[in-house]
Symmetry: C2
Subunit: 197 residues, 2 copies
């Protein structure tokens, strides 16, 4: 029962943070929406900041489940697996109302003055990039990328461009910028014909 | 004197919005930092929202000055001019403490619940993209891009990838992700050797 309360708070908190950001999230609203007594919230979380960091951890659990599901699929070429993960992410954003990526949102809002969030968000992005690195290394080993390609640089470029496209899709409430960015990026990386449309 | 007050508020507001975001910006702090009486602030701005929107307008005036300065330089090839503008922007970010782009920050923080800011930020990004379109069209006319290239699509890809790299540079407090993104993007667009490092 207590575990249910915690889960319910984290799920509602994720959606509220995506919509309103950290400063826009009111604990009173969260309690009202989830029918949770105040004491119960503070039994599970020491503060609003601790709560938001727990939401990020919860978000990352799902991200890593998606990575596990897509990146190790032996039926797909390594570069396709990376793209599969991002298409799964775009699908997830769509199901949440095309609000983009929680990491990008909190990173922009808080990293100017809160080093705990700045380092947390960077740690999460680095962890995702590391997972991509494994696939890019595999692509190099199989000859799908030239031997001199820098897997970590490619992973960071991909993640950075993705986060910008996620912002634009949030502004438009439309996944189109994400799809267009993937076409552009993977044409360059795979060395197929340039995508200039 | 009154105009000076308005300018001082806008300049201080820009730096505070970059660091703290919209919800983190306290009008009291702004008044204290600029030595402005409250009545004077409300003489110039109807509300905090009106103030932040005026800061965005002010920010865009500087962006358009930078675009004027770089995009019409006849001594540079059209694609180089677009890159010049973004390198100038990276230099500006550096001078502000590598906090990234105000449009990306406010877009992420507010666009989930405030349509005025969502539309404003999108309008600003679209206006920048339009300026890029002119240069990409010129590059096509000169044969630096294939005739079938879609200038608007290229402009949007560039802007989206830029905004993501600006987030990463904000997290790192380092311009390196911006430079790396430009190398990656322009190699693809210009059709020179792929940049995979």
């Amino acid at each position: 029962m207590s575990k249910d309360t915690r889960e319910r708070l984290l799920a509602a908190g994720l959606q509220m943070l995506l919509e309103r950001g950290y400063n826009g999230l009111g604990i009173q609203d969260l309690l009202a929406e989830t029918g949770t007594p105040k004491g119960s919230f503070y039994h599970h979380f020491a503060s609003k900041e601790a709560f938001a960091l727990a939401v990020v951890d919860r978000y990352m659990e799902e991200v890593h489940r998606g990575l596990d599901q897509t990146l190790s699929d032996p039926a797909r070429a390594p570069l396709d697996r990376v793209r599969d993960f991002l298409e799964l992410s775009a699908e997830k954003y769509r199901s949440e109302g095309n609000l983009g990526c929680l990491l990008g949102g909190l990173g922009q809002e808080l990293s100017g003055i809160n080093d705990r969030f700045r380092l947390k968000v960077e740690q999460c992005l680095s962890a995702i990039a590391e997972r991509f690195v494994t696939c890019f290394d595999e692509a190099r080993a199989q000859g799908d990328l030239p031997a001199e390609a820098d897997s970590r640089a490619l992973a960071n470029r991909l993640l950075d461009c993705w986060e910008g496209a996620a912002l634009r899709s949030r502004l438009w409430r439309d996944p189109a910028p994400l799809k267009a960015m993937l076409d552009f990026y993977f044409a360059q990386v795979a060395g197929t014909e340039r995508v200039l449309t």
